[in-house]
Structures are given as C-alpha cells and as structure tokens.
Amino acid sequence: MKLVIVGCGRVGSQIAADMDHAGHEVVIVDRDPNAFSRASTRGVLTREFKGDQVVGNGTDVDILRRAGVEHADGFVAVTEGDNRNIMASQIAKNIFKVPHVVARIYDPERAEAYEKIGLHTICPTLEGARHIEKVLLERESR
C-alpha cells in the first residue's frame, strides 16, 4: 500500500521502517528536519529505507499533497500533539478520502469523542494502562 505517516518520532519512524521493509510505499512527514536523522541515529530509519521524507507541517494541505496523500491507501498521524493528529487525519479522511486513516490520541476523552464520529483512534494512554494492569493482575492471581 501507499502509506503517509505524519510524525517521525519513535512510533512514526518504527512504522515507516517496518512498512517499508514489508514492501510498502512509505512517505514520512515531520516539521522538524532533524527528526529523520534522529531516527537514523536510533538505528530505525537506516540507509536501507527506500521511502521518502518530507519536511513540513502535517496539518498543511499543501505539505500533505506533496507527501502524496491524494493517492494514499493508508494514513497515520502520530505527532506529539493530539490536536495535530486529529486535524491531519480528518483532512486525510474527509477531504482526500484516504481509505485507512489512524490517529493516535493520548487524551482518552478526545479519543472517545472522535472515535464516535468515525475516526479510527488509538489511545496509548488507555491501552498502555490496561496492558500494565493486566500484567499486574495476572501476577497476583498466580
């Protein structure tokens, strides 16, 4: 698939590397030009990465066009800002009609509110907490 990822932090760069390795066409966007080299220093986006890197604001329609959002099959918004992720993914979903759009939203309330109106949201706060609680309770019951 053709995939656009907004946000080249730990999660974004990992998805980019994995999907590229699996043979998908990846474009990763970050407004900080140093984000890409940081990912490569961490050993995530190495020289083997065949995808494209675009420097710019992922909520800017012109930047998203440059990243190929018009022909994308998948879109992932994983910047540090919940609101940026919500805005970028709504642009991808509602304006460019990208079929698979996923937004990371840390704030559980905001995640629930946007999930209700049809945005596919991932809330690491709730999922992380539940996972840790599960591990704790499993230990206790042993």
Binding site: T59, D60, V61, D62, G81, D82, N83, R84, I86, M87, Q90, I91, N94, I95, D107, E109, R110, A113, I117
Partner: protein, 133 residues
C-alpha cells in the same frame, strides 16, 4: 449574546474586551496560568483557566447556553478541535475560527466550522486593488 472566546493572546484579549463593552456576556478561556492571571487583572472574572479542547472543561463554562464560540489561539489545529467539540458535543450554533494558514479557511469549513477568518487573506485583500473587469 453569550460568547465564549478560546485563547487569550492579543486577539483574544481585545476581542473579549470589545464584546464586553458592547454589552455581551463573555467567557475567555486561556490555557496558560500566568497569562490567565494577567488577563484577569484586566478583564475580571470572565477569564477561565483551562484547555478549550477538553470536553469536561468546556462543560464548566456554561457552553450549552452559548450563542457563539470564537477560537483565536495561534494554533490552527487547537482552534479546529475546540470548535468541533463545541459543535458536536454541545451543539453551539455559531462557531468561528481564526486561521493562520489561509488555505485552512476552506478546510475548516469542510470540517464543520461555520466561519473561518484568515488575517493573511484580509491583509492581501487590503493590498490588492479590487478587480475591475
């Protein structure tokens, strides 16, 4: 009218002040504590400190009886989310945004905001003479 203003920067401050002078009821929401304190010294108890994108906080502002909400922070994404929350959660009739990126005027309307105002567009309009055909 009861108007909620999100963002107490320069635009939010003067906007709230003028709305009060015109006899409207106003709540000004500011996220930054220091800035909120300063705004309160100027405008009094109409200032509330909090995040205008949070449903729980918005619920404390009497938003369900607001006639309009105007989001004027410096971040387009924050303005969009505050107004979408106001519209979808609290059914506020009129939502108005300040946008910094002029291409967002159209985008905001497509995403459910009633009015979007771009200072860049206004300035360009002032610079360019009207087209005469």
């Amino acid at each position: 009218m009861y108007v909620i203003v999100v963002g107490g920067g320069t635009v939010g401050y003067y906007l709230s002040r003028d709305l009060v002078e015109r006899g409207h009821e106003v709540t000004l929401i500011e996220r930054d504590g220091k800035r909120a304190d300063w705004l309160e010294t100027q405008l009094g108890s109409i200032v509330m400190r909090g995040d205008g994108c949070e449903v729980r906080f918005l619920a404390q502002t009497g938003i369900e009886r607001a006639d309009a909400i105007i989001a004027v922070t410096a971040d387009d994404e924050d303005n969009l989310i505050a107004l979408q929350m106001a519209k979808k959660h609290f059914k506020v009739k009129k939502t108005i945004a300040r946008v910094n990126n002029p291409t967002n005027v159209e985008i905001f309307k497509m995403l459910g905001v009633d009015e979007a105002v771009s200072a860049t567009e206004v300035l360009l309009g002032a610079l360019e003479p009207p087209l005469t055909t």
